[in-house]
Amino acid sequence: MFDGRVLLKQVILLFWPLISTWVQGAEKIDSCQLQVLEMLSSLGSAGGKSAKPSFVSYVTPEEIKSEKEPSRKEKHPDLLPGEVVFCSASTVLKYTQDDLSQRGVFGVLLCTNFRVSFVSDEEPTEEMLFKNKLYGENDIPLSCVDNIYGDKRKLITGGLVKNKYPSKMIIHCKDLRVFQFSLSFSKEEDAKKIFQGIVHHCLEPKSLRCLFAFSYCENTSYPGSYTVENTSYPGSYSYCREHLVSRLPQYFIVPKNVSDEDLTKYQGKGLPVCVGFYLSLAHNHLYSVKTEDLSDTLPTVQDILLSYNKFKQFFLIDNTTEFWMSDMKWFSSLDNCGWLDIIRQCLQKAVEVVESLEKENTNVLIMEEGGSDLCCVVSSLVQLMLDPYYRTLLGFQSLVQKEWVAGGHAFLDRSNHLHLKDKVESPVFLLFLECVWQLQQQHGPAFQFSETYLTVLSDSVHVPVFTTFLFNNDGHRDSLLRAESPHTQRSPLNCPTVWDWSVQFDCKAQDLFTNPLYTEKPKQDTSVRKSYRPRHLRQLSLPSSAFKTPPKKGFFKDEADNLKKILGVKRLSRWMLSPSSDSPQTSSSVREFYEAWQTKPLDYHGLLLPCLDGPSIRVWMQRYLRWIHDVQILGGGPVAMLSKVSEILGEVQELQRQLDRHGCTLTSNHKGARPRAKTAAAVIAARSSVRLSSSFPFVTSRNWAFKPAIPTSLLQSLMVTGMPGNLADREDDGGPESLV
């Protein structure tokens, strides 16, 4: 028997098709001479066991239901099914974020089993265009609370609270919103209760079943067709109910010449899983494999967390003056926190892997302790770069499902919804989205989804309604959902996945997820597809712990033989170059690879590589700056471009319609500009883009005066020191006599 900890060091063997659309049925897989293995395992329930909580919230939803909220019925947000109010306090002052004058609005602050919510006493203002159906602009889902600060910006930690409560409470959210509440106007009893309630539910350890998703799912008749499996895999896999190990998906693919007995040998040691291959392989025997241990070259999950924590501070603004003060040191602070550098390293590693696959035709084995953090990042980035399918909305969704959800990324531990002390929290998934954003920035038309889509996806991780990001692996999910199911026949609980966007947004808002400039694949290419040049591509990921032998001598030893057998390979070679471990500079090989690719004509449906030079890696402005009033570009920003493009697209469509009416279709199919049926045109055209700001669609500019933000700390700004001849003091007309 394994316990959950040991399982973390399993080697995964996954073999999903790189281009999932190609997999039309099981017979194709057969034709590729690959076995789909159904592995029986006695460990199926391990996941459920490991989830046994060490701390339990003292109230469970069931208990709460009994104690009814008596009085405050008139003031609460529209509660979701299964949502219950824990406590509330009236006459709470919410400061308007960017204001130093201590102005704000009064209202009721509530804490439910889903969110912390502020309901303003004032009449609700104009409906937001990009309204989230689950939570409004004054709601914070409990899992979205990052930190709570008390008076004098003292960090509040769970255990310390007794009978005291601060007069001012600052809440930093994981989606980078900042809320400031004053509790000094409320009744003492209420204030104490709400503060302690919020702290308890947001910061203290709790059990998994206290997460809102469970009570939400029990109380919604959610259509069963939205279970994870059905939406995520376009290919037709049938799923068996048993698992080799709980961390592995039920189905995975290994080469044909590997028997199940061979695989059982790997129990406890780990199993290599192929995550992608090209079906057009003519030869299914691979000649060599390169191994790449990510633990050696990339930052650890702790490094990632540390860096991100520094980075996010630049955007959690509760004071305009401080913001402008920090503005002068912005660039060096960016460098110091290292976040962009981590992004660069991940992208670079992915490029290295692509290079081996593409140029050297070798197979790559990505290893990592645990095998489900940076392995997921790198392998999904590689697939994103290689395969245009993953740059579509559906493709990206299946990429996340297979590499992250099925791939066993420990979402529960990494986002630490339960606030357990022994779990390593780390924004690994966000790091991946950051990398995707960089690619998207550099090659916009290659992506079907928009920047807004990525931002919303990054927010959704912290909305505890979707089961997608709630578990550590598939086994964990299944056992829990089944255990929680109210039905005796043990059909799993039906929960929405994050991919069902209608749960959060209406159709109009969802239109903003598509990129109007996306170049759809030209039609004629479908025929070309068949004669696609047979690329010999495989990509493997597995944890490195299976090979904990000293790297110098006897590398792989016994495992090597097994591995060779499993993979049907003749030679295993250690990753040739790992200069990146010595210096963060791009290795010359990657540089050349990029340059060679760059000279080729750009094909948005082919290989995409990111430029990694300093200026090319940017800050994801939409995600990070959207709530900061002072840096909103009114009438500008990407939306200004978007609205114009949408307008032109609309015109093109209109003209096309007119042509059709005249009974004539254009003979030439214009290569790039195939207008999409759905564009954001309607949404944006409704309002003049002059009024939209760079934080569109997240903030509407309605409550802002059209007045520029003038930096407040201009005077201390420039310290021109150490200049030869004290240039700053010189007069404009050169010449020695003019020296003052």
């Binding site: 000279t599 004509p601 002072d630 570009i633 493009v645 003209l655 005249h662 003038i710 010449g735």
Partner: protein
């Protein structure tokens, strides 16, 4: 890079006939060189047009990409127009020589010169020096490597070290456009013969060597006379001037009041010319406060001038005080006047030692003085020097942002933009008139006034309006281009040189980034202006003042840059331009939104070049729209022709109203 492939195809294609080009394309295909999709699209465009059209086409790349990469355009060829015989000539010797402009002549040519490219490595080829350009071509590579730059961009030529062990001498060229070039060639056996680099030194600095700048020889004829783009009277008329408070004075008609000001000035109605002269005596270099821009509704004005001659003793001038009071009174909306002194207060105070200074709020009632903390030309020059170190030739990846910050370049940009923003805010939101000055009022004042005007007035965001803005605020008001750039002058250490104008263009670029749909021109327009700031091909940026330009008869003897630009506006048009009327732009001047202009400062680095210009896709869309529009109109005409004749008039109009055609000014 991709752009370059295109360009190289152009270089071949536009000299040949249509058929030749097709054959060439074919042979390229045969030799395994892929003709890109985009190239195909463009090729069909060029094949379908007439020869003269194609030369317009070819004129596009100027020398923007004449860099260190696989291939570059050789064709700086606006002159092709109307010179068919050049075609034959070029075809013959397109091997190693550049294709020459009218009046351009080869001064020297040397074979077996090595160009040490920081990105590719050593390349051996032929170096040609003409009275206009330096041209290097290496035939060993496929496609051939070409380096083509106007001598005007060379700021310094120096011999590096002595003869090396291989008997080679090496030369370094520092350029004004953020790059350095390095060449080497064999030591001359015949020591009497001058090395090509000695010739180069002579030609690169015509002013120092008593030669004429090439702009005075270049005689290309364009359809439009660019010197007529700006007409002061017309521009003031557009602003609604003169009106009941402001008049146009002829007091400076012969540049007697102020030799660095334009002849046409706008001053308050009730200040007679005699008083203007007394005010001039109190302002540095006689640069009195005059109107630059007036708000169409509130009548708040942007006024520019130089510092008052206050001196250590705190001298006052009743005339100057009355003058500013009159300016304030001309705006009924506000009882206040803001004086923006662009300098840091310390520097402004230090100027008192030299007789200058700033307005004391005691002497000028109702005026509020604000210092904008923008540093002087020397600080800016030093900052750009550091920036060049950071970005050329290669970027250090790991500390990019810290290195960038250490140059202070973007901090200076931020301060200038912040200053302009405060001015625009006071005028727009505060409805208050503002007076802007620095020391002499021709560097920082020009930056601030013109940027504020770009923010306030949408007209200056059009291609022609921007030309007017440059002509007005920079050229006519005496920004000393000759001194700041040092055209044809070998004294590269001259303390008068400074990238003041470059900073201004950078600020405009930052604004185009923040408001991608608010400007009619594109990035290429700004880069073209900067390239010709140094090229010495056009007369636009010659001399220091309007007076000098008139004296040198520049409009007669040289071609204006605007003639070239306006001959092909489609190249410079932003396809996303939305013309909002009366839309004031307030850019965000946080470092969070400022970024280094990669497309200009790092354009020589092949890795930083976009594979496909972003605007390509927008252009495709526009082309598609135009195509459809044409079809619809054709069909509609057909329909109406067939049906009753009465409705023929209405038929065409609905489409037009739905789809306004992209307008080229």
């Amino acid at each position: 890079m991709r752009r370059n492939i295109l360009d190289s195809e152009y270089t071949v294609c536009h000299y040949t006939t249509v058929i030749q080009w097709k054959m060439l394309k074919y042979s390229l295909n045969l030799t395994g060189i892929r003709v890109t999709k985009v190239a195909m699209g463009d090729s069909s465009k060029s094949t379908s047009t007439s020869r003269s059209d194609r030369s317009t086409h070819a004129a596009k790349p100027t020398f923007a990409m004449s860099s260190d990469n696989v291939s570059i355009s050789t064709d700086f060829s606006p002159e092709l127009r109307g010179r068919p015989k050049a075609v034959a000539k070029v075809l013959r010797d397109s091997k190693e020589e550049p294709q020459l402009l009218p009046k351009e002549s080869v001064q020297d040519m040397a074979k077996d010169v090595t160009y040490i490219c920081p990105y590719i490595g050593a390349l051996r080829g032929t170096l040609t020096v003409t009275n206009y350009r330096l041209f290097f071509k290496c035939m060993d590579r496929e496609p051939a490597f070409v380096l083509d730059l106007p001598l005007g961009v060379v700021s310094r030529v120096e011999k590096i070290g002595g003869a090396s062990s291989r008997g080679e001498v090496s030369y370094g060229l520092a350029c004004k456009d953020i790059r350095n070039l390095r060449f080497a060639h064999k030591q001359m056996e015949d020591s009497l013969r001058k090395s090509i680099f000695e010739i180069l030194m002579k030609c690169a600095f015509p002013v120092s060597n008593g030669l004429t700048i090439f702009a005075f020889e270049y005689g290309q004829v364009y359809p439009e006379n660019g010197w007529k783009v700006y007409d002061a009277q017309a521009e003031y008329k557009r602003q609604g001037l003169p009106n009941e408070s402001w008049r146009i004075t002829k007091v400076n008609d012969h540049y007697e009041l102020c030799d660095t000001y334009p002849s046409t000035l706008v001053v308050p109605v009730n200040i007679p010319d005699e008083e203007l002269k007394r005010v001039a005596a109190f302002r540095a270099k006689g640069r009195i406060p005059v109107l630059s821009w007036i708000h169409p509704e509130s009548q708040a004005t942007v006024i520019r001038c130089s510092q008052p001659m206050v001196g250590v003793n705190g001298k006052r001038s009743k005339d100057d005080e009355k003058y500013l009071q009159t300016i304030m009174d001309a705006n009924a909306q506000s009882h206040k006047l803001f004086i923006f002194d662009a300098r840091p207060s310390v520097n402004a105070a230090a100027n008192k030692m030299k007789g200058g200074g700033y307005e004391s709020e005691d002497a000028y009632q109702n005026a509020e003085l604000v210092f904008l903390d923008i540093h002087n030309i020397h600080v800016m020059r030093e900052s750009l020097r550091k920036l060049k170190e950071v970005v050329y030739p290669n970027i250090e990846e790991s500390h990019w942002f810290s290195n960038l910050e250490s140059t202070h370049w973007l901090e200076h940009i931020k301060l200038i933009l912040a200053g302009a923003l405060r001015i625009a805010d006071k005028v727009e939101s505060g409805k208050t008139s503002v007076v802007v000055h620095c020391s002499d009022g021709w560097d920082r004042t020009a930056q601030l006034a013109s940027l504020a005007m770009v923010m306030l007035d949408g007209h200056y965001r059009t291609i022609r309006g921007f030309q007017v803005l440059l002509e007005k605020e920079w050229l006519s008001f005496g920004h000393r281009f000759q001194l700041r750039i040092g055209h044809g002058d070998k004294n590269h250490t001259d303390a008068d040189r400074s990238p003041v104008f470059l900073q201004f263009i950078d600020c405009v670029w930052q604004m185009t980034r923040q408001f991608p749909a608010a400007f009619e021109f594109n990035e290429y327009f700004l880069i073209t202006i900067l390239d010709h700031l140094y090229s010495c091909l056009f007369g636009t940026f010659m001399c220091n003042s309007e007076q000098q330009r008139v004296k040198e008869e520049l409009p007669k003897k040289t071609v204006s840059l605007w003639a070239y630009i306006n001959s092909q506006p489609e190249e410079f048009t932003n396809p996303l331009y939305v013309n909002y009327s009366n839309h004031v732009l307030f850019p965000v001047v946080s470092m969070r939104h400022l970024e280094l202009w990669v497309g200009y400062y790092i354009r020589w680095n092949p890795r930083m070049r976009p594979q496909e210009p972003v605007h390509q896709r927008y252009k495709e869309l526009l082309a598609k729209r135009a195509e459809l529009q044409k079809r619809v109109e054709e069909l509609q005409r057909e329909v109406t022709n067939r049906s009753a004749s009465s409705s023929s008039e209405r038929a065409g109009s609905p489409t037009r109203s739905i789809t306004p055609v992209q307008t080229f000014v």
